[in-house]
């Protein structure tokens, strides 16, 4: 029941974030949706994820506001209204049709298949000594995944530095600075 309420809240917040005229209010309502997602993780019994989502959410807000502060925020009008709307609804409709067929193959809500996870739950405490099974999985059973995730983070940092970096000035002895 609380889950439905929070999902409704998230849907309302994301609609407001999409449709708001002002970019800053859009970012702030987006962060409201993210905090709702964090609460939903808590209700779905995933406390690790709730904490991670909270921190990442705050970082999103800081980075997005850094991107749009001090810029002249022009109201952008949408052109070619009919064509854009029709193509968008075609995409969304095809996605919903495929999702409907895929949803039949999944297990019912509340009864997950626990083939691999059952083994982890049984042997997690004995093999790794960690009371939190999620930590045991990320740091012991699937530690290569975590390693590659860290590699992705560093690659992203290198990419950001390469994009943001200003080109250095080359010293030319005849003309002085160029």
């Amino acid at each position: 029941m609380e889950l439905h309420l929070i999902l409704l809240f998230m849907i309302c917040a994301s609609v407001a974030a999409v449709e708001s005229k002002d970019l800053i209010s859009g970012v702030i309502t987006l962060s409201a949706a993210g905090l709702g997602l964090s609460l939903a993780f808590l209700i779905l019994k995933a406390p690790n994820l709730a904490i991670t989502q909270l921190v990442v959410e705050i970082l999103y807000v800081i980075i997005l506001i850094r991107a749009i502060i001090n810029k002249d925020l022009v109201l952008i009008k949408d052109g070619r209204w009919l064509f854009n709307t029709i193509s968008t609804f075609l995409f969304i409709g095809s996605f919903l049709i495929f999702a409907f067929f895929a949803l039949k193959e999944l297990p019912n809500f509340g009864q997950p298949i626990m083939k691999v996870a059952g083994e982890y739950l049984k042997s997690g405490l004995g093999q790794t000594g960690s009371a939190n099974i999620v930590t045991a999985i990320t740091l012991n059973f699937r530690s290569l995944d975590t390693l590659v995730e860290t590699a992705i983070l560093f690659t992203a940092i290198i990419g950001v530095l390469a994009i943001i970096r200003k080109v250095g000035k080359i010293y030319d002895p005849e003309k002085g600075k160029r």
Binding site: L23, A46, F109, T138
Partner: protein
């Protein structure tokens, strides 16, 4: 209802012309996918996957999607940071966030 959230994000990506609005749409899609993966692993009246003394193991929720989604959240942050830095560079070069005004990309 998770699909409704996904559809809103997809609509935002395809329909809007502001770069920041497109990034907001990508973030919403990411939220929807993470929530969907956690919903698959949920067990009714389950407990958090933390071993305690007075707790039987059979009743826990699925911990595997939780571990994978915590990876996915952090990778999503990296993706958004790279996108934002691209947007900042585009603003410095063209002085606008409107994707139709960036004429020089046209062939």
């Amino acid at each position: 209802m998770c699909f409704v959230l996904f559809s809103i994000g997809l609509y935002c990506i395809l329909r809007k012309r502001n770069i920041i609005k497109i990034i907001i749409g990508i973030v919403i899609v990411e939220y929807a996918l993470n929530l969907f993966l956690i919903l698959i692993g949920y067990r009714i009246h389950g407990r958090a996957p933390i071993v305690a003394q007075d707790q039987e193991i059979l009743n826990m929720v699925d911990p595997l999607p939780q571990a994978m989604v915590s990876t996915s959240i952090v990778i999503g942050l990296a993706i958004i940071v790279v996108l934002i830095s691209l947007a900042i560079r585009i603003y410095e070069k063209y002085g606008t966030f409107d994707i139709t005004k960036i004429r020089r990309l046209k062939g």
